[in-house]
Symmetry: C2
Amino acid sequence: MPQQSPLEVPEGDPFGPHNLPYGVFSTAREDRRRIGVRIGGHVLDAGAAAAALGSPYAGLLGQPSLNPLLAAGRTAWRDVRRALTAWVTDPGHRPAVEPHLLPLDEVVLHLPYEVADYVDFYASEHHATNVGKIFRPDGDALTPNWKHLPIGYHGRSGTIVVSGTDVVRPSGQRKAPTDPVPVFGPSVKLDIEAEVGFVVGAPSELGRPVPLAGFEDHVFGLFLLNDWSARDIQAWEYVPLGPFLGKSFATSVSAWVTPLEALDAARTAPPARDVPLLPYLDDAGDDRPGGFDLRITVSVNGQEIARPPFASMYWTAAQQLAHMTVNGASLRTGDVFGSGTVSGPRTDQRGSLLELTWNGRDAIELSDGKRTFLEDGDTVTLTAWAPGPDGTRVGLGEVTGRITAAR
Amino acid sequence: MPQQSPLEVPEGDPFGPHNLPYGVFSTAREDRRRIGVRIGGHVLDAGAAAAALGSPYAGLLGQPSLNPLLAAGRTAWRDVRRALTAWVTDPGHRPAVEPHLLPLDEVVLHLPYEVADYVDFYASEHHATNVGKIFRPDGDALTPNWKHLPIGYHGRSGTIVVSGTDVVRPSGQRKAPTDPVPVFGPSVKLDIEAEVGFVVGAPSELGRPVPLAGFEDHVFGLFLLNDWSARDIQAWEYVPLGPFLGKSFATSVSAWVTPLEALDAARTAPPARDVPLLPYLDDAGDDRPGGFDLRITVSVNGQEIARPPFASMYWTAAQQLAHMTVNGASLRTGDVFGSGTVSGPRTDQRGSLLELTWNGRDAIELSDGKRTFLEDGDTVTLTAWAPGPDGTRVGLGEVTGRITAAR
């Protein structure tokens, strides 16, 4: 009986040929970084396959980073994806393709792009309302600007790390309202934020805003993102100029970037907006709905603690991109922006421990004990899937990280 | 009579051989970017001179960017500077060096390093007090954390531009307290912030803070920085996550980076601190004072409007670096951090129009009319000098930019 081809991915596999996310890998035998495409439980060495097939994309795919492919623009993204789809589905290509497949557990995955700027948004109304109630109990939960613009801020791109990287517990200043002076030490309120990240491919010119309709020309794909947050450091530092050291120690991203094209069936309308939007943000008349129906799961040490629904986000990624550039700020290949914490309306849909435990008031039960915030040794994993074509599921690459003790 | 050598720089020239700032240039004839060192009114093609002299630094200096030199670390910085000093002062080197000198007005200057992350601080007590009084008239001028930590936030590194680059007036949302809803349009409160920027050379490891004493091992040099700010956009957006589009359209920096070594004589003690500092920020026992006595001048269309004294900054660059990394955040070659607006105690020492005009209440008089904020066509120039060895002055490269109309 002939051995089954790794390309015969079982029906229902969320990493079937309808998905084909991109990553960068090396192997124990060869530490050269290469672009890989995930198919089922295997990784296709895309540059090697392209070369074997005499593909015109052998140059773009034979790189140590996704950046040249990202920079190549939307037509190239579509054409390369079409070629890859043919390679993994057409049995005639199997003899040339199969030698370049490696089992997933034999590769080491790396950060797949060089990050240029990193912006994080604050786009879930449920999350912002919860945070407002916790941190500003005497005021309105949402600030007056919240429904008029997608609030965002720049984060530290140099500390974006790939899934699987350990996260050292940060130290810093904190001051409880009852403390007379701040104290220094390891954060005692280390938290997660379950988010979706977007990576920019095609750059834009300084001084020229990108309109809502330019989203798919500039954004290559998306992935899961964990915006680790030290709530005690953040609470003391963030007035008046925003989060800084409470966030900048690490941000973890999936090793796999899912191209937007794979998520056509997951497009969904964002929630109804309660206030009229300025024209540059008004997506009411857009051809395609701006939301993505991604179903996220948050687990700590293998136990599921929440299921944040990305479809519930008030602001869409297209609106975030239009806002980020409306002042003329340019985009560079490798710019990353995060959606902000994804929290749904239900208590079990909250994407941070801050919300799930109401700032530590209500511990959650894990099999190894109670948790308010993260303990050393805890491993946090985000997974997600989205509806794909013909009833399939499109899996997003997980993002996982383990907390190690402060140094 | 033999022609005078361009290396015979007149006594009192702030760009004499005691200074030697680094830049990157090209010429009309040859658009290849090269490292240049400024000496008097000339630029030394440093890589070409190094090659002509058979210097071991021909590799580091024969680059299109300062990044490899920055990454080489403190010993290399000292040795390269020592070599350059000999080349421009020792008459025996003249025949080899002089052919590689170009008049300053024949070169095009470029951004001399690739910016990694950009952080901006808020370190002048006078500035923070003025801003607090203007924006938060009902509260304390300084937030409770201000004297315990150097407040900072990440900015957009992709829109850092070299001196001389035009700045397009940004558009965005603004909402006066009396407006029922926000309006969209070109900023009507376009401002400057006179700052000093620092560029990181040697990187640091993720998870390992850089102590105060590590400042000179990691920071290569400094320069002038204009943190253009749209006050109306900023005022509406900045609560709760800090400035974003009010700043991200452009930040201008000098074309010349002054190495820290050139500023040894400008070291000065920062102001007395009124509250005890946590050990990682406490510089009371440091060998060298952490401040720099830089005398800045702000001009609009050639007319001087303020003289902010950098010596008056409450927080030093060494403290800012220690704070920025105390949570384990790593440094990369090319990280830039800004001091925050430099304002002294006197009204003519304020480094922003926001302060100089008290948010537009008190116009300033220029020969071409009154100003509250910047008008299209205005050119803003920052210059500075510092005390050098033996009564000399060390000039900083100017940073200039002209406002063009919103598109």
